[in-house]
Symmetry: C2
Subunit: 480 residues, 2 copies
């Protein structure tokens, strides 16, 4: 047996021999049952001590790759996996059942290269404070050392919880640090709250349409999703009570401010009504305020949570839109006994959010810096919204378009007879992608006349080109 | 009205005025209903333009703090929260119900300062590769820019998934990158798998005793937890079939290698038996291999997953023990239709694990570096295990102590008549903390004669002192 040895390397010779043998066995060149050379003979061939070879063999034995048979040398073992699965073999029955139970969505071909995507729900990566975050991560390493890499408390880093409470209070939502739970993005806040408060089969009320990530989550949890109709101002709270009486929901989920997908901002009167109905019917309210502070005009509406006399509203927020989504940092503000139950759910789900990320965000975020970043973002996104809305009105006057007062999305209604599902492949073929309406509705068919367009991630000229392409797609769909 | 203005600052004057008013309103000095000074008069007093004051007022209007009444000036609004909650007010009924439903554990006083804790499940923070991680994070920022801060794919960073598959394959578990799901720690892998495969009320089999974080998770999900007896080699697979026939579990959860809390390493014959019984009874196996490679002696046992002919075993692993728990990075290896369902569950739970952390770990981990780090860790922890076991045998010969062949824990049985629950406050009073047995058992009372001691986080001399204190506690408990 030839074993290439490099005596200049710091890796001990026995490790080099061991590594070579591992590779040889893995490659199949030494199949199961092959006998390894006797240590004395190999040591002589390689010019190393016998102990070196024996140590290498012992490591291979320890790794379960070879085994010594007393009196007859050392043999390569069969890999423990008894036999590879053949492609036509069936999966275990529980897997086949699982596959059969899962709904498979329509299989759209993905958009091609060069396609302008208005489909996402993200802000512009060019606005992420890359330099600032890099600096604070370095500072956290320098200041905290390995403590930044230990498990932190399940509820979150205490200093970050204080910062979150301060930012919220400065925005008109009085908040206490002890009521803050740090989560891995707002999505986890929704998941923890809804799986704590509702069990499979339980009804939950949502705006129709609503955020698709919540809708899919509730469906995956086996909840019975009931839609509350909306208009251009948001949830029709005048229609809420009969639904409460009929379904006895375990939860009302609402995105009152710059709603996803419609962009609607619920007026104060409806907010009060929603809260008082939830209170009267003893139903917790889960408020998703994912972009509440991205306001381009109009008076700020206080969040539902600000109307809460105590313990009625769980308020979910995020740093994803303002700082960067890849950090995965959000929070849930909840007072009362539910807070401890949520912290426990967080601990059991993933122990805690990354301590390093939490401390970096804490070091980055101050009220002043947050507000400055917000002002810059609002200025930029407002221009983009205007560009998109103007282009839509110019190029596609047959669509119904409302200019949202904040957020990331323009919600568009197609003319009668046109469907988002039919338009999607045609639009993608001419190089523009959007989020089709059906995915936002508890009853997907109701969404067929709608598109959601995200304006935040592109420069005005790109948005104008996107609309030009969309117009081409609409003509084709109407003509076809 | 006096408004302190600093003309040297870069903050515009209208912002300074706005900020002062926000503070004044928040402090209560300008209660709801107060009228703000007329803009013309205040501008003259402050020596600024009228537009400056009007801009400040407009910002306050936008923030919902004040409102203009046509023809009569600008007034401070009442805060939207209608009234503060009084301390004796009851929480909403759904919160009171939730609080009543939650079990409250025994309220032990926490250990004091100077207490040596053998209670944790962590490795030694001194071993976390602080410098290496700091460097790779810097490199990732430099190389990837803002793309490191965007959402990544729900299944995980593709390059990290390849690295995980390579590390597993090099350790004798052939793995394909496409079967890897990156999770926020192994705990999330357990949470995603168990909540996908079992619904409230469903039975699940676990070793008795088992990892407390899994036990509490299963209980929180409403599962019916059934214990399989264990001995010093791990799960009594000879007792498994009657339990399978009787309970028809939806899942078997097992920690076969250096079990938590007992340290037992399941022999190959039992592994095969466990797998073939799970297959025959159509039950998925969730294997938790949280420290399988921390082996101090004895031959390596291939994981259950290595015996799997396809789709029978979900294999959970983690970087928490080897790199750092604060990163919150683990993974789940699963083939078959269940993989896509798990990826979907991950997406709906928290979108994806932090992209930045994933890319940093990918950049840090190579097979060579992982093995070098593993060797260093094994050397250190072996000495600590030896120190703890020797001290226990010397100072507390009345305890039953097995020296584990790997992992982080020594599992100790108290002499008859002594209980962990009674010992805990006495031990803490003399300055040593441990994990009491009951928390690891499906039937907590069965754990009363046991303690779990973690040796990984302390130097030998600290461990020896901890045992000295423990001995003092045991004498007091026996005497009392």
């Amino acid at each position: 047996m030839r074993v290439p040895l490099d005596r200049q390397r710091t890796t001990p010779l026995y490790r080099q021999i061991e590594a070579h043998l591992r590779r040889t066995i893995a490659s199949g060149a030494l199949p199961a049952g092959s006998r390894l050379p006797a240590s004395r003979a190999l040591a002589r061939d390689l010019g190393v001590s016998r102990l070196t070879v024996e140590t290498a063999w012992a490591e291979l034995v320890a790794a379960g790759l070879v085994a010594g048979r007393p009196g007859s040398g050392t043999y390569v073992l069969a890999p423990p996996r008894p036999s590879a699965r053949t492609p036509d073999e069936r999966w275990p029955a529980w897997q086949e059942d699982l596959a059969a139970r899962r709904e498979v969505g329509p299989d759209e071909p993905p958009p091609g290269r060069g396609c302008i995507s208005l489909a996402s729900g993200q802000g512009d990566p060019a606005l992420y404070p890359l330099d600032g975050l890099r600096k604070v991560i370095r500072a956290v390493f320098g200041r905290d050392g390995s403590s930044a890499l230990e498990y932190g408390p399940a509820a979150g880093d205490p200093a970050l919880r204080r910062t979150i409470a301060e930012v919220l209070s400065s925005q008109g939502l009085p908040a206490r640090a002890e009521d803050v739970l740090v989560t891995s993005g707002a999505q986890q806040a929704l998941a923890l709250a809804s799986s704590l408060l509702a069990r499979p089969g339980d009804p939950v009320l949502v705006e129709s349409p609503t955020y698709s990530g919540a809708l899919e989550l509730f469906r995956a949890l086996g909840l019975q999703v009931v839609g509350v109709p909306t208009d251009e101002l948001g949830m029709r709270t005048d229609l809420l009570e009969p639904l409460l009486l009929r379904h006895h929901p375990r939860l009302i989920y609402s995105v009152p401010t710059f709603q996803n997908p419609t962009g609607a901002c619920l007026p104060a009167l409806r907010r009060r009504e929603l809260l008082s109905l939830a209170e009267r019917h003893n139903v917790p309210l889960l408020e998703d305020d994912y972009v509440g502070d991205l306001r381009y005009e109009g008076r700020a509406q206080a969040p539902l949570k600000a109307y809460d006399r105590g313990g009625r509203v769980l308020y979910a927020g995020t740093f994803s839109k303002m700082l960067a989504p890849g950090l995965r940092l959000g929070f849930l503000l909840a007072d009362g006994p539910v807070h401890a139950a949520l912290v426990e759910a967080k601990r059991l789900h993933d122990m805690a959010t990354s301590n390093l990320i939490q401390r970096a965000v804490k070091a980055y975020v101050t009220i002043g810096r947050y507000e400055a970043h917000l002002r810059r973002t609002v200025r930029l996104y407002r221009r983009r919204r205007d560009a998109l809305v103007a282009a839509l009105r110019r190029q596609l006057p047959e669509l119904r378009v409302e200019s949202p007062h904040g957020g990331l999305f323009v919600w568009v209604r197609l003319p009668d007879g046109l469907s988002a599902r039919r338009l999607l492949p045609l639009a993608r073929a001419v190089g523009v992608d959007f989020a089709p309406g059906p995915r936002f509705f508890p009853e997907p068919r109701e969404g067929d006349p709608y598109l959601r367009l995200c304006f935040a991630a592109h420069e005005p000229e790109v948005l104008i080109e996107a609309v030009r392409r969309l117009a081409r797609g609409v003509r084709r769909a109407a003509g076809g």
